[in-house]
Amino acid sequence: MAFRFAQSAIDAVQGRLELRDAGAGGFVSFEGWVRDHNEGKEVTALEYEAFQELALKEGGRILAEALERFPIKRALCIHRVGALQLTDLAVWVGVSAVHRGEAFDACRYIIDEVKHRVPIWKKEHYRNGDSGWVNCEQCAAAPLHSHHADQHHAALDVDIGK
């Protein structure tokens, strides 16, 4: 039961091994991949940066919440930091459970909460040479917009394929 960071490629096979449980009848994982476009811009590369001390605590709390809310066996989330290329694995969530329904639900819960709560930031590099911190630059351009929170959710919902 852990949240952790990976400085280099995430080992999803190892993650899956850690979730094996004799009482589990199912395993669900989610992988967030680096995509070549976001908000109409062509993305060429990404950087992730984290406030790791707090991120580990908050990530751990999310996994503990998932265990409490859903009858699952084990859960794990691994997030990349550093420079990533297109198609790289950015985040991996795995859940094992007695039945598949809870595993799907818990996996969805974990990735949604991680995206909204854990202090991790993503800088996108674009084909046109620009770069920007996702969810920060558009806020700075239009500070205190009354639909500010909605804009966040909209951006979060499209930034990885789900």
Partner: protein, 274 residues
């Protein structure tokens, strides 16, 4: 004849290396304190600004008088005020006099001589007139214009050469101005405002805008909210505080939590994991 207040806040703050108007004292900026002080003695108060400063939020929070006369320096601000309201005398105070008190201004206004061009104090440091805590009379407008057209720039020299009533200061430190970080520290100490050392770490957009990933700093801020205000002014952060969260000692915190010496503060811009 009414006396209006004019707070001078047009300086370049080059020795302070941050905008002097925004230096905080118990969560209030130097400019806000000076404005509040003047407002207790004058019916109308304006902040004197250069045209390039009108968009600055710290200044724009107050009524502003924009320099209407070409040039730079305090005389331009004073002349612009005298031109804007020709039948008004002006209590002119620089924004960087944190030890200036109500009793000093009461005394200045009581002793004011409307028949002089100005009423001012002798500086306790060099016994020369102090032009930036003074009442300037309407008649000074023409004399100042003449002085400048002859190449004069220094309001102190102007007061030495013209008819001004000069007073011995009540309090030797009342006119101490704050030009350097050392003078700011001395003013905080004189006001019995304690400062403390904090560590601040910066991530992502905050790191890029601050130009560093961490620093230890001496601050008079008592809460994360005050600290953000101070650092946002220093580094020009583009995000409003309402868009951020804050962590103290690696745990999410309220903005109003009292800070203690040695605390580790992180401002958290909108996150984007996944």
């Amino acid at each position: 004849m009414p006396v209006y207040g004019l707070v001078l806040a047009g300086g370049s703050s080059s020795r302070m290396q941050r905008d002097k108007a925004s230096l905080p004292y118990r969560g209030k900026t130097q400019l806000d304190r000076a404005f509040g002080l003047a407002a207790r003695h004058c019916a109308e108060v304006f902040v004197s600004v250069r045209a390039t400063q009108v968009a600055d939020p710290a200044r724009a929070a107050h009524p502003m008088l924009v320099d209407s006369i070409p040039g730079e320096g305090p005389i331009i601000g004073i002349r612009s005020a005298l031109a804007a309201f020709p039948r008004v005398a002006w209590l002119v105070i620089a924004c960087d006099l944190p030890l200036l008190s109500d009793s000093t201004l009461d005394f200045l206004l009581l002793e004011r001589d409307p028949h002089s061009l100005a009423t001012a104090f002798f500086s306790a440091h060099d016994n020369l007139p102090e032009p930036l805590c003074a009442v300037w009379e309407p008649a000074a407008a023409a004399a100042l214009a003449e002085y400048q057209s002859a190449g004069g720039q220094c309001p102190r020299k102007f007061l030495m050469r013209n008819r001004a009533k000069l007073l011995e200061p009540l309090d030797a430190r009342a006119l101490d101005n704050v030009n350097t970080p050392e003078e700011y520290a001395a003013a905080l100490a004189a006001l019995e405002i304690s400062t403390m050392k904090l560590r601040v770490q910066y991530f992502a957009l905050m790191r890029e805008q601050a130009g560093r990933s961490e620093e230890t700093l001496e601050t008079a801020a008592t809460t994360p909210a005050e600290l953000y205000g101070e650092l946002a002014t220093r580094y020009g952060f583009t995000l409003a505080r309402e868009q951020l969260k804050v962590a103290v000692n690696s745990e999410f915190s309220e903005w109003s939590r009292p800070l203690a010496a040695g605390d580790d503060v992180v401002f958290i811009p909108p996150v984007a994991g996944g």
